[in-house]
Symmetry: C2
Subunit: 183 residues, 2 copies
């Protein structure tokens, strides 16, 4: 049993959506008191650190309704039901960027918002990149612009909050360490 | 206007909770099609990279209901209404860890889940740490264990997924770069 475990007394499903569900759990705390936990269920996602031969990180710019603006992120996508995360990563890389990779390696899996969501992102390193002849194949309702940025450019984009999400911030630090170790 | 902007046609509030709200927006896409966006509102949070004189990172272990297990994280906390994030950071450091800091500096702000949530974490570096005589002052319903880990220990904890959230993963890489630059 986990230390400090909170036992569920009652769970109420508030909303079941296309991407997220919301439930509210009544829990018993370790001291016997009760409390409420508002919890989001999410299928999980993958993201990729794809570095080109000339040491540029492949990124995509897209509008994020939750933030009401466009931000620049590493390629990422939701895991479809039953899909192996590594397959999702391969698929998303090709669809969003038009690159394929010889090899994907898991860097780290992490929870994005452990306080209220079960979303986990599996972050892969993509190597042996090749541009496909067809280019990116976006869904009709997907609006994404491809970018390739140096580490220095990425750090500058972080300073001005155009790179503004946790997975991409992590990816930029990781890529910086990787490139500096290789040189 | 943002590139690729999605205009809100209709917004339905599904749930207003203690920590999060859920709304579902009907949006107009750049190509004129319509789509739905399930969106979580969150007040935002702060987190702290606090490194002791002997190069250990201060962390806390706590149960996270969304993940149904305990994980090890850097100190963090929600921003109370009207609170300056820097003040929140100072307060959370003292309450959760019993340390106070002479100086806080913003490292980076980032969105945790831009696909569905507006939560932003402001990550501070805390320097000039002093242990308070009173120690940590937790709420009655808060169950947190204090840890101090070296960079090597933190990297090992990441490998076995006991450090498992994005802000802490970022913090470990950041701390590693900072300590290696200083030495």
């Amino acid at each position: 049993m986990s230390k400090f475990e909170e036992k569920t007394i009652h769970s109420e499903r508030i909303y079941e959506g296309k991407i997220i569900n919301l439930k509210v759990d009544e829990v018993m705390l370790p001291n016997g008191n009760q409390s409420k936990r508002e919890l989001i269920e999410h299928p999980g996602a993958v993201a990729l650190v794809a570095i080109t031969e000339d040491h540029k990180i492949i990124m995509v710019e897209q509008f994020r309704k939750a933030l009401e603006r466009t931000i620049i992120e590493i390629p990422a996508g939701k895991i479809e039901k039953g899909e192996d995360p590594k397959y999702t990563a391969m698929r998303e890389l090709e669809e969003e960027t038009g690159y394929s990779a010889d090899h994907l390696e898991l860097i780290q899996s992490f929870s994005t918002s452990p306080g209220f969501a079960d979303e986990v992102i599996h972050l892969y390193s993509a190597t042996g990149l090749k541009k496909s002849t067809s280019g990116a194949v976006l869904d009709e309702d997907e609006f994404v612009e491809l970018l390739e940025v140096t580490i220095e450019e990425a750090e500058q984009l972080m300073k001005v909050n155009r790179i503004y999400d946790a997975k991409t911030a992590f990816a930029v630090l990781w890529a910086k360490q990787k490139i500096s170790t290789e040189n």
